[in-house]
């Protein structure tokens, strides 16, 4: 009997998704540290141009070489990470805040407002991310704030839908009825009894959408709708490097690799969290 128990315990000690979460979190910790500490870590000023140092190859002084204006690629990637991560984080947080609260209210109260909101949401969802992003940026005009708003709008439907369906399912549960019988106000029921139940799922979605936001930002920057130059963003760097791709491929490849690393880190974390939270996976 004790043997069976120990085996059982040992299996349980490795919850699903644990490895992925740790690996993803480690990658993101390093990336985030590099971005935040960019002013201390970067060997050069990312905006300092030098006509004498154009298109330098990799060297001890310029780790990843320089671009056509003589700016240090490595430093620009670090500062690019800063803007890219901030944009992704801010837009996802904005989408999460708006999408979750409107979604929960919509699902909890139902009725006509819910139907209209859902229809509008479906409409927004039917646009491919990029197309929606392009339209919104084109409407709002360039700039980091507008970029954040645009990406937030493209991410909004995922959170709205998630929160709405959770509220829809939970409001039928007995304990929500119990809260009503106990005389709790709707706001109390939503904030103290509904929201905590949905938070797990929402945080997982947020992690995965952070990755999508990075990609959307990069893609928009690549087609010239990102943060206006000379600001360094990862997508912007790829675009700048693209002009000289055949002669100096490193200028586009290094920032692309940086995007890749960020994506892998975020997706590992998101997938791991999702697996860890999925009861079917641990069964």
């Amino acid at each position: 009997m004790s043997e069976a128990l120990t085996i059982d315990r040992r299996v349980r000690r490795l919850p699903p998704g644990r490895v992925a979460i740790i690996a993803g979190a480690a990658i993101m910790a390093i990336v985030a540290a590099a971005a935040i500490l960019a002013p201390l870590v970067a060997p050069h000023d990312p905006y300092a141009q030098s006509m004498l140092a154009r298109f330098r190859p990799m060297s001890a002084e310029y780790w990843l070489g320089t671009d056509q204006f003589g700016r240090d690629t490595f430093s620009r990637i670090l500062y690019g990470l800063q803007i890219t991560l901030w944009t992704a984080f801010a837009s996802t947080a904005l989408a999460m805040l708006c999408g979750t609260s409107i979604g929960i209210l919509s699902g909890y109260y139902g009725g006509r407002v819910d139907r209209w909101l859902s229809a509008a949401n479906d409409l927004l969802m039917s646009f491919p991310q990029m197309v929606a992003g392009i339209i919104i940026v084109a409407l709002l005009g360039p700039g980091i704030t507008n970029l954040i708003i645009a990406i937030a709008i493209t991410a909004f439907p995922a959170f709205y839908r998630m929160a709405r369906s959770a509220a829809l399912a939970l409001r039928e549960r007995d304990y929500i009825d119990a809260c009503r019988v106990l005389g709790y106000s709707d706001m109390r029921i939503i904030s103290r009894h509904l929201l905590p139940e949905t938070l797990d799922d929402i945080i997982i979605v947020a992690t995965l959408w952070l990755a999508t936001a990075v990609r959307t930002e990069s893609s928009l920057a690549f087609i010239g709708l990102g943060a206006p130059p000379p600001a360094a963003t990862l997508g912007g760097l790829v675009r700048e490097g693209f002009d000289n791709l055949l002669d100096y491929p490193g200028l586009a490849i290094w920032p692309s690799l940086a995007i890749l690393v960020v994506m892998i880190g975020l997706n590992l974390m998101g997938d791991g969290l999702r697996d860890a939270n999925d009861p079917r996976a641990s069964a």
């Binding site: 007995d174 304990y175 119990a178 019988v181 106990l182 005389g183 103290r192």
Partner: protein, 325 residues
């Protein structure tokens, strides 16, 4: 009269049919009236789908009623604004069928009880703790339970917690919707005894909803039998069980186990399932399953009228042969 339900009606719209769905009105509760006195327990029995749970939910305004009134200590609670209703809520509490589902899964028991106390400003500061501990003790749970989460308790314990949560609000009526049907038989008795004690010591009235006649017989002074959204017989529990008048009451009683092993099991079984409440039968709703059916049953709906000591909705209540027991 503490709680008076008058001609309560609840309907749901159901859309069926393909490819052109039609909206039908499902009359889940169709003109139900009864009253409950202080400290009394009133049973509602019937098959699943007969609308007994909907009656409970409509009384508590968890579903909207279409017409009729629910008068609780003189106040018509079907028409007052939600804000006023919230202030009355503490006195009108509910116990749920599934005790596991009726507790917020991420809240410690103590916090869940304290929240109810705080919302209604029943106590403040350290008094809250004392009240919580008292309530837990009253339902037979140790004070340490306050620091635990719902999933750490057994079904019976969870039902005790549900009762404690109602008790901290000092209710005068508790509506118990199948409070023991999700529990083991041995635990059922404990919970029933607990409720019987509360009824006696705190003079709490119960509306006890169940499909289990044995349980109702044990607990309730008066009982109503529901069939397809209507009360078809009501009266004192003893009378209802000893001398059931309505053929459906007889059917129910005959299929519930007789506690006397000497008695031969007598099955008065009529064939069939209850018809759909979407399309109830004409006349008496029970007529397709009734052994004593005549023409008048198919055409005219019988009213609930006094027969003997109780009320029966059957055209032939007096004429039927006495029930065998």
């Amino acid at each position: 009269m503490l709680l008076k339900v008058e001609e309560l009606r609840v309907s749901f719209s159901v859309r069926t049919g393909w490819p052109f769905p039609e909206t039908h009105e499902l009359r889940a509760v169709d003109g139900v009236s009864f009253d409950v006195r202080e400290g009394e327990s009133f049973g509602i029995v019937g098959e699943s789908g007969c609308g007994k749970s909907t009656v409970a939910r409509a009384i508590l305004r968890l579903v909207d009623s279409k017409s009729g009134r629910v008068v609780f200590s003189g106040i018509d609670i079907t028409s007052i604004p939600a804000r006023h209703l919230r202030r009355l809520r503490p006195r009108l509490q509910m116990i749920f069928q599934d005790p596991a589902a009726s507790l917020s899964p991420r809240m410690r028991i103590g916090d869940a009880l304290a929240e109810a106390i705080r919302v209604h400003a029943i106590a403040s500061g350290p008094d809250i703790d004392a009240l919580v501990r008292n309530a837990l003790a009253e339902v037979g749970l140790p004070p340490e339970s306050a620091n635990r989460f719902p999933h750490e308790f057994s079904g019976g314990q969870k039902q005790r917690i549900g009762i404690a949560r109602a008790l901290v609000l000092s209710p005068s009526v508790i509506i118990a919707d199948e409070p023991v049907s999700a529990l083991d038989v041995s635990v059922q008795a404990q919970i029933l005894n607990l409720m019987a004690r509360l009824k006696k010591e705190r003079n709490i009235a119960f509306v006890f909803i169940s499909h289990d006649l044995g349980v109702v017989r044990h607990f309730c002074e008066r009982t109503a039998v529901m069939y397809l959204g209507q009360i078809i017989e009501t009266g004192s529990t003893r009378n209802l069980f000893d001398a059931p008048k309505h053929p459906y009451t007889r059917l129910l009683r005959s299929v519930s186990p007789v506690p006397d092993p000497e008695k031969p099991a007598h099955l008065d079984v009529e064939e069939g399932e209850p018809p759909s409440p979407l399309n109830p039968p004409s006349g008496c709703r029970f007529h397709p399953r009734c052994r004593f059916v005549t023409d008048i049953c198919r055409s005219e709906t019988p009213d609930l009228r006094p027969v003997g000591a109780g009320f029966v909705a059957c055209h032939h209540a007096e004429a039927l042969p006495p029930a065998e027991s």
